[in-house]
């Protein structure tokens, strides 16, 4: 027998195992999967929807249903046309549809969610190549598109136009009522905020949303709301202070105010967001830095006070000038009254369109919060927080490149050194 060994026969590797990567370490995998992430986020986002249904009635549910179904359908169509594999799973399309519905007002005609869904899926997602590849949060792309296309419908109606009454909810104390306010039989049901007085000769009326009232503080167009907590002594025509025009803070917390379906009920949004933090789908640093930056901008940004002879005085540091108690209420009103909470906990935290590292997420959150509050206070943008999130989404690749943790064995300043 010779000592020459027979050549080793080529080992047959299970082709399926190779394709599915089960033949390489590690052989254990964590139970969490992509689909789990989307479905759990969907379930968490259903709680603000539930709050919206309670507050706004069945129309909210109908809008959400139309939005979710049309998102799933349009993604299916896109997949049929392009055959991009990242468009084949529908769980993310449903999640996008639900998030989109949360941002829409409850009293929109049926074609608005359909158009928004088409923009969200096609422009926001399919063009970029589907799940995991998009740059901007798709639901917000759809929301921005309808805000541009249907400005009249999307902005809340003014109180003095009775033909618009059908578009927006009517506020009552801790309750939102919808219906024909000209019908006499229902009039006793309608109430108004505490401390507010109805216009002459009317029992029910539409209040402006609190965010519009707060925006009035900074553009000096409305001297009625020019002071936060007190009536300036030297302005005889000034009416009661701005905070008196706002709903009580607990009404803002529970959601008794006009706004999108899922935007209003802050307490539910916070609880659902904390659940996502608990599941590790959202890092707590991102919503916290978002809200902290927003609060800082509100605390520092100037408020304009009306003075005698139609002059206007810009006061920086309104929190300091009004005192800590009033300032705290003011900051809480600003944070709770718009769409900031929903953006901070559900929209800015979309995994694909936020930075990967924790430090990058803090930068991203700070930018979102600051831009959102600047847009709301000084530019009167229709959907300031959403526009801020979209704006910061644009910079996510840059943030990911610039901020990186220090790799094992590298010196401390390595992370900021240029590499190319």
């Amino acid at each position: 027998m010779s000592l020459e060994a027979e050549p080793l026969p080529l080992q047959r590797v299970d082709a399926a195992a190779e394709a599915l990567c089960t033949c390489v370490a590690p052989f254990l995998r964590a139970p969490e999967r992509q689909r789990t992430i989307f479905l759990v986020t969907f379930a968490a986002a259903c709680t603000p929807l539930l709050a919206g249904v309670v507050l706004f009635g069945w129309r909210a549910l109908a809008v959400a249903g139309i939005s979710i179904l049309s998102c799933g359908l349009i993604e299916r169509l896109c997949y049929g046309v392009t055959r991009v594999p990242a468009l084949s799973g529908r769980s993310h399309a449903y999640l996008t549809g639900l998030l989109l519905a949360l941002t829409l007002p409850p009293f929109v005609p049926w074609y608005v969610p359909v158009v928004a869904a088409a923009f969200a899926i096609i422009v926001g997602k399919a063009v970029f190549g589907g799940v995991g590849h998009f740059l901007w949060q798709p639901a917000l792309v759809g929301r921005l598109a309808v805000a541009v296309l249907f400005p009249v419908i999307m902005n809340n109606p003014t109180p003095d136009k009775p033909e618009n009454l059908g578009w927006g909810p009517i506020l009552a104390q801790s309750k939102l009522v919808v219906g024909d306010v000209t019908v006499n039989g229902r009039v006793p049901e309608y109430r108004q905020w505490r401390y507010t007085e109805p216009p002459e000769g009317k029992d029910a009326f539409l209040l402006r949303p609190p965010s519009a009232i707060l925006a009035g503080l900074t553009n000096a167009r409305d001297p009625a709301f020019s002071a936060l907590a007190f009536v300036p002594a030297d302005v005889p025509q000034a009416r009661p202070a701005a905070l008196m025009k706002l709903p009580p803070i607990n009404d803002l917390l529970y959601g008794g105010r006009p706004g999108g379906i899922g935007e209003t009920c802050a307490i539910v949004i916070i609880v659902a967001g904390l659940y996502l933090v608990y599941r590790n789908y959202v890092k707590w640093q991102l919503p916290l830095s978002f809200l902290a930056a927003a609060a800082c901008v509100v605390a520092v940004g100037p408020v304009q006070l009306a003075r005698a002879n139609d002059t206007v005085l810009s006061v920086w540091w309104p929190v300091l000038s009004e005192g800590p108690d009033v300032g705290f209420i003011y900051i809480c009103c600003q944070l709770l009254s718009g769409e900031t909470m929903l953006a901070a906990f559900f929209l800015a935290t979309e995994m694909t369109s936020r930075p990967v590292t924790t430090g990058g997420q803090v930068i991203f959150g700070l930018g979102c919060g600051a831009i959102a509050m600047l847009l709301r206070l000084y530019l009167e943008a229709p959907i300031p927080s959403y526009m801020a999130v979209l704006a910061m989404n644009t910079f996510v690749p840059t943030i990911d490149t610039l901020w990186r943790p220090r790799v094992l064995g590298r010196p401390f300043f390595w992370r900021w050194r240029r590499h190319d």
Binding site: M1, L3, E4, A5, E6, P7, L8, Q11, V13, A17, A19, L20, C21, T22, C23, V24, A25, P26, F27, L28, R29, A30, E32, R33, Q34, T36, I37, P85, A86, G89, G130, V131, G132, H133, N280, Y281, K283, M351, T352, R354, V356, T357, T358, D400, R404, P405, R406, V407, L408, G409, R410, H419, D420
Partner: protein, 451 residues
């Protein structure tokens, strides 16, 4: 548990130490084999003793087919920096065949000598403590180790004599015995420390004397400290520091262990010895002691057999035993090494010096990997603080140079990124491939790859 508590109350027998950023708490599936004493594996029909257990050039066979060899007899002579091969058991040389043995990143095929008509395997006989290694000169100990053709066992096998010489020339100051074993299901080193702890510590002391280190550290898992109380006497005698570290995976990775215990970090792509830290495992220490004190060759090692197998337990197994036969012909994939960093074992796989476990694990059947959704969990859990999501982009776009600049060589290959990935991407495998590509680039085009 009670033992652990008592150990803490008796004045910190094992000192607790720090941890690191990242990592993950894995499920601790060690219960089936944790308390099973080391037994002798048998009966063994045939052995295929690999001629290149450390990779590299295979040794040249010095026996002829059909010849009878005695246990411990030299059957192959080293060629080109390898080690001599000794027969683990007495028997007849049946043929020269092939075997696959774990050498670093893959199961490498190498020629092997097939032995049949084998004698009975013997257990690990206790060795009397003959003389104090501290009284021998380091040069004498190094020569003695070189005579023995010993191999390091963890994580990739190498000739121990060369490793000791390199550590000595690099002026290695700290020698760490790594008995962390944070991977699920693997208990071989733990059992070795429980049953032969004194010999392991003495082996560590011999190695430390040979390398002339200043500090000897025994790093164990904090959950197991109660089982190691018998180690206090020998570690005191040989001035070995006892340190218990957290159970978090991968505390046992060499670079991470060195970072925790010495605050020194390995520059990416460099060897641990260059920062003056040596890491060995319990099996190596035991082999060193048994060779230096009693002249017993390193021809077998302790292997954990677990998972869906007939006889789970810890066994003393000669090199060259067929892995497939050890699992009893299970129909699930057989893994050579731990479940996090191990290798998928085919028909030809045999036990080598790096085989700490042979597992039959039901790997879950996933759907095909999806697109990365940038959840960032890989980056959060990476013990080397790499941005794994960005490295995955570099892999997909074939940007090897950018991956090199991002520090891909710092990867400790622990597999945590693949473990947590919700898209089931083989991230760990991809980064290994990137590292190989970077290595090729540096070798072939050194001017281009001077990052």
């Amino acid at each position: 548990m009670g033992g652990t508590r008592i150990a803490y109350h008796l004045g910190m027998i094992f000192r607790r130490y720090g941890t690191f950023t990242g990592g993950i708490d894995l499920p601790d599936d060690k219960r089936p084999t944790l308390d099973k004493p080391i037994a002798v594996w048998g009966p063994i029909e045939r052995l295929r003793v690999p001629l290149a257990p450390c990779g590299g050039t295979p040794a040249e066979s010095v026996v002829e087919v059909a010849r009878h060899v005695q246990a411990g007899e030299r059957i192959a002579r080293s060629a080109g920096g390898g080690v001599d091969i000794f027969a683990p058991l007495s028997g007849r040389v049946a043929a020269l065949s092939w075997a696959q043995v774990a050498a670093g990143a893959c199961l490498a095929a190498c020629p092997a000598i097939e032995l049949s008509d084998l004698s009975q395997m013997e257990g690990i006989a206790p060795v009397e403590e003959r003389e104090d290694p501290r009284e021998e000169s380091p040069q004498a100990l190094r020569d003695r180790i070189a005579e023995g053709s010993l191999m390091t066992c963890h994580p990739r096998p190498a000739a121990l004599a060369q490793w000791v010489a390199k550590a000595h020339s690099k002026r290695c100051r700290v020698l760490i015995a790594n008995v962390m074993e944070n991977q699920p299901m693997v208990t071989a080193n733990h059992r070795l420390l429980v049953e032969y702890g004194g010999e392991v510590v003495r082996g560590l002391a011999i190695l430390g004397r040979a390398i002339e280190v200043g500090e000897l550290i025994l790093a164990v898992d904090e959950r197991r400290t109660g089982d190691y109380r018998r180690l206090v006497q020998p570690t005191r005698r040989h001035h070995v520091k006892r340190i218990a570290l957290s159970h978090k995976y991968p505390t046992g990775a060499e670079a991470i262990l060195a970072k925790i215990l010495t605050r020194r970090e390995v520059p990416p792509g460099r060897s641990l010895l260059e920062i003056g830290v040596g890491v060995v495992d319990a099996a190596t220490c035991l082999a060193v002691y048994r060779w230096v004190a009693a002249g017993i060759r390193q021809t077998a090692r302790v292997v954990t057999v677990a998972g869906r197998v007939e006889r789970p337990g810890n066994y003393y197994v000669p090199f060259g035993t067929d892995c497939m036969a050890m699992t009893g012909g299970a129909d699930v994939p057989i893994i050579h090494g731990g479940p996090m960093v191990g290798l998928r074992c085919g028909d030809q796989g045999v036990v080598g010096p790096a085989t700490d476990a042979v597992l039959a694990v039901e790997t879950c059947r996933f759907a095909a990997p999806g697109p990365c959704i940038r959840c960032g969990w890989c980056t959060d859990h990476c013990p080397a603080r790499l941005n794994v999501a960005a490295l995955n982009d570099d892999f997909e776009l074939n940007l090897v140079e950018r991956a090199h600049q991002a520090g891909a060589l710092a990867c400790v290959e622990c597999g945590v990124c693949s473990y947590v990935c919700p898209a089931r991407l083989p991230l760990s495998q991809r980064i290994k491939q990137l590292k190989q590509a970077i290595g090729l680039l540096r070798k072939r085009m050194p001017l281009f790859a001077s990052g």
